[in-house]
């Protein structure tokens, strides 16, 4: 990793997909791609792995459900048993609805919190801005200038031939 990056700016989804294919085949190190919307199929083009967040959801959901069943049993059958209509203390079927709701609540909210944590999104975070208009209609490809063999001019020509509307070098600022 160096602090020198070359950015290629594209005007359409197709252009950037094509560019990613070509620069990956040529062995460039793609640091990240910035897009105004989620492009389907881009993760395959970039060779990214699937997110492991579903496992977190599963674990937290099951934990929430388990704790809730225990809590309902403990309150109704152990801590202060109250006879309601002669129903058994451990009326497990009657505990299903609340258990389900708590499972969904815990799984849903904590998945989002974990996502915000992993993606490092929080109020006051300064967004990386390599190029204006990324949240509007520009697609930005950020290449890492890995070592001395990186040829800026060649890269510039390559990206331009791939329909880049702008190619530029960014040094040391991490786009902030």
């Amino acid at each position: 990793m160096t602090d020198r990056r070359t950015i290629g700016v594209f005007a359409s989804e197709n252009d950037i997909m094509n560019a990613i294919r070509v620069v990956r085949a040529r062995g460039y190190d793609i640091e990240d791609v910035y897009t105004p919307y989620a492009i389907h199929g881009l993760e395959r083009a970039l060779g990214m792995k699937r997110s492991r967040l579903p496992w977190i959801t599963l674990i937290l959901g099951l934990t929430g459900a388990g704790l809730k069943v225990w809590f309902e049993y403990w309150t109704t059958a152990v801590n202060w048993p109250v006879n309601v209509g002669g129903k058994p203390w451990d009326s497990l079927p009657a505990f299903v609805p609340v258990t389900f709701e708590v499972m969904v609540l815990l799984a849903g909210v904590s998945t989002v919190l974990v996502f915000l944590g992993v993606a490092q999104l929080y109020p006051g975070r300064k967004p990386k801005r390599f190029y204006p208009g990324v949240t509007d209609d520009r697609f930005v490809l950020v290449l890492n200038e890995t070592d001395a063999s990186f040829d800026l001019e060649e890269t510039r020509e390559l990206l331009s031939s791939l329909n880049a509307v702008d190619v530029d070098e960014r040094i040391g600022e991490e786009g902030r």
């Binding site: 359409s12 989804e13 197709n14 997909m17 070509v22 085949a25 040529r26 990240d32 791609v33 897009t35 105004p36 919307y37 989620a38 492009i39 389907h40 199929g41 881009l42 993760e43 990214m48 997110s51 967040l53 959801t57 309902e72 109704t76 801590n79 202060w80 109250v82 309601v84 209509g85 129903k87 009326s91 609805p97 609340v98 709701e101 708590v102 969904v104 609540l105 799984a107 849903g108 909210v109 998945t111 989002v112 915000l116 992993v118 993606a119 999104l121 929080y122 109020p123 006051g124 975070r125 967004p127 990386k128 204006p132 990324v134 949240t135 509007d136 209609d137 063999s149 390559l158 791939l162």
Partner: protein, 484 residues
């Protein structure tokens, strides 16, 4: 077949938009000063809300004796309004979660507004049980927390406690889902804001979103997970609401058909409300290119389908009563159709079963005025459905000496009016300060239905599916051997 292909290749968004134009159109709405129409609507909504506030303050100061309830009819307007508003919310979740999972890409134009509707409807719904408690400042007793009363816990076997958990979860998950979907759009607004205060507020909301694809990838995963969780949740919420009735031993309530019947009715009423709101928004906010005949057509068909399910449930209830041989059950249904509240029953049947039948005709589905009027009638019909279910089952008790009537008091009417005021006030504020159409999602569906003519925007190959953006590698830049 040709017609089918044509339907698949019809553009979702009109006007040959580019992503830049989408940003301009939607965020531009927030830059203009609100027109006289918005102010008129806002003051009307605020007036209605004030009526509700006055009724609410009087109610809390005096007690629920100010309502028209009596010993026999112990539930009436408040629970009707509660079920009505909760039902309205369900279409929002259907559009945002269920249609997302089944890849109905037309939802992108309406999901933001529909989710907002869900949240505001749940807020309106939540007010009624709290007010019905009589001592709303004790509402936190619903929550099982360690207390000095024993600790005496809530009764987890009671559907009313299930309801508390279901509604709270539904509200929190809907809010999370709405906010998550809005984050990238808030970043767009932040990057465009000229005003310092606005930029600051939007940047807080955007949480530093910068469009990094690594984040997008996780974001999509989380969005799908939430959709997957919200789908069974939305079914569970109205199921549990129906259990408030079905677990009792009141004739007309004690039936197993209630959960599916309530869920279908909820989606039916909510879809009508989405249509009402979106048709108004389309006209007043110039969203003609975003909400097209295709969207209205699809929603009208959903309205028709759920309306038929509701109609089927009405008929099934009668059959069950007849077939059960239970005279109390039979009496309740004959009393509904022919008794003192027959007018409410026939408004319900007319608006919910007969009126939607017009939607079989394409001419009606493409006539926005007709759809608007139909959707209003369905809203009316669904309110009366809940009123009929609740009041007619209660007002004729097992003992004829208990029989009574029911007339709502002014306070109850005021609260109903106030809930509409609250709903529309919140909705009008939403369209003033937040993007009413999901910009990032709409940008992702622009290519749908645009034939192979490239040149602008993300030109697809016209298949319309999520896989349709697979570019053909440029033959002039053949990948070379990697030497590094």
């Amino acid at each position: 077949m040709a017609e089918l292909l044509q339907a698949l290749t019809r553009p979702l968004i009109g006007g040959d938009k580019t992503p830049g134009q989408v940003t301009e159109d939607i965020s531009g709405l927030l830059n203009n000063r609100p027109g006289p129409l918005w102010w008129a609507g806002f003051f009307l909504a605020l007036t209605l809300l004030m009526v509700g506030v006055i009724a609410g303050v009087y109610l809390i100061r005096t007690g629920i004796g100010t309502w028209g309830l009596n010993n026999t009819v112990g539930w009436a307007f408040d629970i009707t309004n509660f079920v009505f508003w909760i039902g309205i919310g369900h279409a929002g979740t259907l559009i945002s979660a269920v249609l997302f999972l089944v890849r109905q890409r037309w939802r992108t134009s309406v999901n933001r507004a529909a989710e907002a509707m869900t949240i505001f409807a749940v807020i309106c719904a939540g007010l009624f049980p709290v007010l019905h408690m009589g001592r709303p400042w004790m509402a936190y007793w619903m929550f099982p927390y360690p207390n000095f009363r024993g600790p005496l816990w809530v009764n987890f076997r009671s559907p009313l406690v299930w309801d508390f958990f279901a509604i709270s979860t539904y509200f929190i998950i809907s809010l999370t889902f709405w906010y998550l979907g809005m984050m990238p759009d808030l970043a767009t607004l932040r990057d465009r804001a000229k005003n310092k205060v606005k930029r600051f507020l939007y940047s807080i909301g955007a949480l530093g979103w910068d469009g990094s694809y690594k984040t997008w990838l996780r974001y999509e995963t989380v969005y799908t997970l939430l959709a997957g969780l919200a789908t069974p949740l939305v079914l569970s919420v109205h199921t549990i609401v129906s259990w408030d009735f079905a677990t009792s031993v009141i004739p007309g309530w004690h039936t197993t058909i209630f959960p599916p019947y309530f869920v279908a009715g909820a989606i039916f009423s909510g879809m009508a409300m989405v249509l009402t709101l979106m048709l108004v928004a389309r006209k007043t906010m110039r969203l003609e290119d975003y909400i097209t005949t295709r969207h209205v057509d699809a929603m009208s068909k959903l309205l028709l389908a759920t309306g038929m399910m509701v109609g089927l449930a009405y008929a099934t209830e009668f059959l069950t009563a007849m077939y059960s041989g239970n005279e109390y059950e039979q009496f309740v249904f004959i009393n509904r159709a022919l008794g003192p509240f027959a007018w409410a029953y026939w408004i319900m049947v007319g608006c919910n079963v007969l009126v939607p039948q017009f939607l079989w005709f394409r001419q009606v589905r493409q006539n926005f005025l007709a759809v608007f009027v139909l959707s209003l009638l369905v809203n009316v019909g669904m309110w009366f459905e809940r009123f009929t279910i609740i009041v007619t089952s209660l007002h004729r008790d097992y003992l004829p000496s208990n029989w009574s009537g029911y007339t709502p008091s002014l306070v109850e009417l005021g609260l109903l009016i106030g809930s509409f005021g609250l709903f529309f006030t919140l909705f009008l504020l939403f369209i003033r300060f937040l993007p009413v159409v999901s910009m990032n999602e709409v940008k992702g569906v622009l290519h749908i239905g645009r034939g192979g003519h490239g040149g602008h925007g993300p030109g697809g190959n016209g298949h319309g599916g999520p896989e349709s953006v697979r570019p053909t590698p440029d033959p002039t830049t053949k990948p070379e051997e990697v030497t590094a």
